[in-house]
């Protein structure tokens, strides 16, 4: 079953912040985040492991709460280049070779 992402779509002005959520019905071992520009392939952003760690990538960071089976991606002071569709990917314990992606969140940044 696919992880569920929210919101499905969001429009921001340049410089505003956004949060994208990813929720799974299964226990998770790790969560991946990818960004896909229109007409291109998804590109890796970061992986988060069990333990509630947070990671950062430029002004993009994420957290992972394995007890709630949820992850959130934080985009701070958004730039035009952040536009695209964001996907979370999940790995489950004892089945981590299977990488399942969420429903996607389309982010549009306007000047």
């Amino acid at each position: 079953q696919q992880p569920v992402q929210s919101p499905q779509a969001v429009i921001l002005r340049e410089g505003e912040d956004a949060v994208i959520n990813c929720s799974s019905s299964k226990a998770l071992y790790s969560v991946h985040w990818y960004r896909q520009k229109h007409g291109e392939a998804p590109v890796f952003l970061m992986i988060l492991l069990k333990g509630g760690e947070q990671k950062g990538h430029d002004k993009i960071s994420a957290s992972f709460n394995e007890k709630k089976q949820q992850s959130s991606l934080y985009l701070t002071a958004s730039q035009l280049s952040y536009s695209g569709t964001y996907f979370c990917g999940t790995e489950i314990p004892f089945g981590n070779e299977k990488l399942t992606f969420g429903t996607g969140t389309r982010l549009t940044i306007i000047p």
Partner: protein, 113 residues
């Protein structure tokens, strides 16, 4: 370094025809995947493989077949194409083990008419 290469980039099929989507990677990755992407539906896993000779079904395997005879190649076969198989197909690969990032091919846009 070529990474993950998919061919063809575009294809139009008639209902009932068959075709093979090719995927090859030159990174010596054991894990390979096929996903389909429909508008607003995210990436759905069709099949995956953990190494040569080993494949397993994903979420939406019906109407597709795969084989993995070498580490490099993971072709996806469509038998008796149907309009519901109109989609963008992505192949991906990654290293064996936990927490390894996936690398995607550029995708194949397939239309069944």
């Amino acid at each position: 370094n070529a990474g993950v290469t998919q061919t063809p980039k575009f294809r139009i099929l008639k209902i009932g025809q068959s075709m093979t989507l090719q995927c090859t990677q030159d990174m010596n990755h054991n894990y390979m995947y096929w996903y389909r992407q429909d508008p607003g539906m995210g990436l759905k896993l069709i099949y995956y493989s953990v190494g040569a000779g080993i494949t397993d079904k994903g979420e939406v395997p019906n109407g597709y077949n795969v084989s993995r005879s070498t580490t490099e190649d993971f072709p996806l076969r469509l038998e008796l194409a149907a309009p519901s198989q109109t989609s963008v197909y992505f192949c991906a690969s990654r290293l064996t083990g936990m927490n390894t990032e996936a690398f995607f091919g550029q995708g194949t846009r397939l239309t069944v008419v």
